[in-house]
Symmetry: C2
């Protein structure tokens, strides 16, 4: 079993799927820029359905990367999400790997020029 991970050297091997997954990366990126964001804003900005966003927020909460706060806006229930220090750290780690990956491909066979 351990053989499968021996000698893993590509930046992609260091990516954490909890953070890397498209919708979750979007949520963390948005929350890193804002104090908090409400469910409807996240859903619209990321082009997700209610159920899809709900599931991804659950994964982020379970990982300790996001906090949820429920309340009322007039008569409507609303949910606000915010990033935790641990979530911010995980996003930073992701961005560091993404930069390395982009740089590695750019330094390759001229992919950017084709």
């Amino acid at each position: 079993m351990s053989e499968a991970t021996d000698g893993a050297i590509h930046p992609a091997a260091a990516l954490d799927e909890v953070v890397h997954q498209r919708a979750r990366l979007g949520v963390l990126s948005i929350l890193a820029e804002a104090d908090d964001a409400d469910f409807t804003y996240l859903r619209r900005t990321l082009g997700l359905t209610d159920g899809n966003l709900g599931r991804h927020l659950e994964v982020l909460v379970d990982a300790g990367y996001v906090n949820l706060r429920k309340g009322y806006d007039g008569r409507r229930n609303r949910t606000w999400a915010s990033i935790t220090p641990r979530g911010r750290q995980a996003l930073l780690a992701e961005l560091t790997v993404l930069r390395a990956l982009v740089a590695q491909v750019d330094a390759g066979d001229g992919t950017t020029e084709r």
Copy 2:
């Protein structure tokens, strides 16, 4: 249903999961730099199991992003993978979105300094 995608403006909304998924992004990045790579090299470099790499290669082949070539190296069966022009285009699109996403977070609330 269309409401869910109205007004999607975040770069993450433009990411294609076929290319964005960690292992597949790794495969395409490696193949963009090399003429071809064999199954064992990909598996080791990306820290994947046989089954895992096999499934991700299947997704990439089905999308028309990767070609597989089977042959022999002495007495051993080997499989070489190469990126198609369409796969290269998809990788370029992914890298463009990743750059935009990294730049947007960097331009935000000072995430990189915390």
